[in-house]
Amino acid sequence: MFEVSDIVAAYGKIEALKGVSLKVESGRITCLLGPNGAGKTTLMMTIAGILQPRRGSIRLEGAELAGLSPARIVSRGVALVPENRLVFPEMSVRENLLAGAYQRRDRAGIDSDIERMYARFPRLKERRDQMAGTLSGGEQQMLAVARALMSRPRLLLMDEPSLGLAPLIVAEIFDIIAELNRDGTTIFLVEQNAHMALKVAHQFFLMEQGRITFSGTPGQLAEDEVIQRAYLGTRRAVG
């Protein structure tokens, strides 16, 4: 189990996370929804160790992650597919995958994992020697997912994987998410596309203005209410 308790994170004086607590069950897909600026990316970056929390704890199977360097967090089995993908633009697809496996030393295992990624994402195989910066948005997203998987994470964090993609590609990405989960990876997903997210998620949280305001299973709240709160926030929805 992955557990975040009472995390406070800030940019200078602005508190973006004001005491966030949530639990992600192993082997499940958990989704975090919320309007722009709610603090979803901040939470993901804090879990990955890019931002240091002011307070609170982040535990994976009981072991504390808060305060560790991003590299140590990767080695504990957590990988983030970042918002906007952030592929290495002037490296080939293959080199991007190798970078994802940076902490691993098992050459043979890395090579066989690259082959597995090519099998899962055939379009990456066709473009293995192409510079990542010249891939389409959808291909870059696949590459970002594959790169994160190269560290063999137990917990895969994904920050808006459907951002800016055509509906067909979005459906493909969600198929892959479900497939990865079936293969045993725990997934914690940030989404703006509430409709798609609620279809795959076992559990979801709503975040508004740096706080968790709802937690439950997809059936528990009517989809249009979730969508309203996820896009607009409670205040405007009520008022």
Partner: protein
């Protein structure tokens, strides 16, 4: 201009291109540090000359063949590079663009002052290799010491390219310079990459410093400022961040420098190099290999 003049001019440009390998190395150093840290390290050329001085110190203590001066300069360059990172970057607020500029200008002056203090400002002679060799190619004579400098420069560049494109450390270095946040997410320690980049560029700089000393036969604290400027010009002409650009630009600047010197005299030479810099900044700010920006 008669034939003899033409031969002399070509000869002079050829000498310049050979010496230009030094500028190429310095340009690569500036470019690599800029690549990973997005900062200009203004103390780089001074540190390179400092490393060459340090190699003289080693040579004065141990009785050794002249080639050892290059090894000693490389080692000293690596150590100085690490120190420059520690003093000029590690604890300096990187978010402030002026902070590291000032810290590295400070280091440039500090290194120069140390050299002046230690040598009383008197130039010291530097051992040259193959200075008695001259290879005749038709009407041209290629100086052995310059050819050695050029060959050594080529070896260094080849090794650097292999390091960058064929090793795990090179992959990490390129990752950090292309997408720092993503490289952290891949488990790459940016601090480690930064330190190693300073040490490796320091080694390269030390060799470039020794090459300078060997090619002109002496070392002087007056070398560091012009070398700093030449290194920066090479990075502008080659395109900041481009290694092939730095290599080519170094050779071009070396050749042009001698051409200007041949036709206009030594005191006018750097005027034209400076004008070239401005021409590039205005008409081709991305450098000779400026590529059309790819999609994002």
């Amino acid at each position: 201009m008669d034939l003899l003049d033409l031969i002399d001019a070509v000869q002079s440009v050829a000498d310049g291109v050979l010496f230009g390998a030094t500028y190429s190395l310095l340009g690569i150093g500036f470019t690599l540090i800029f690549g990973v840290m997005h900062k200009i390290n203004l103390s780089y050329a001074a540190a390179s000359i400092g490393a060459a001085y340090a190699s003289l110190l080693v040579m004065s203590v141990v009785e050794a063949p002249a080639v050892l001066a290059f090894v000693a300069a490389a080692a000293a360059g690596g150590v100085i590079g690490g120190l420059v990172y520690l003093v000029g970057f590690r604890f300096i607020p990187l978010a402030n663009p002026l902070a590291t500029l000032m810290s590295t200008v400070g280091l440039l002056l500090l290194i120069d002052e140390i050299i002046v203090h230690a040598t009383a400002g008197v130039p010291l002679s530097y051992p040259a290799l193959f200075s008695d060799v001259i290879v005749q190619v038709g009407p041209f004579g290629l100086r052995g010491d310059l050819m050695f400098v050029f060959a050594l420069g080529c070896v260094c560049m080849t090794l650097l390219l292999l390091l960058l494109y064929r090793t795990r450390l090179g992959l990490a270095t390129r990752a950090v310079s292309q997408q720092a946040t993503a490289s952290l997410l891949c488990g790459i320690s940016t601090t480690q990459v930064n330190v190693l980049t300073f040490v490796i560029t320091g080694v390269v700089g030390g060799i470039a410093g020794a090459m300078t000393g060997a090619a002109i036969g002496m070392l002087s604290p007056l070398l560091s400022l012009p070398l700093t400027v030449k290194g920066l010009i090479v990075t502008v002409i080659g395109g900041l961040g481009s290694i092939p650009g730095a290599i080519i630009a170094g050779l071009i600047v070396g050749g042009l420098e001698n051409a200007f010197q041949f036709f206009r005299g030594v005191s006018e030479r750097d005027l034209y190099i400076m004008l070239l810099l401005f021409a590039f900044l205005v008409f081709r700010p991305g450098g000779i290999f400026a590529k059309s920006s790819g999609r994002d």
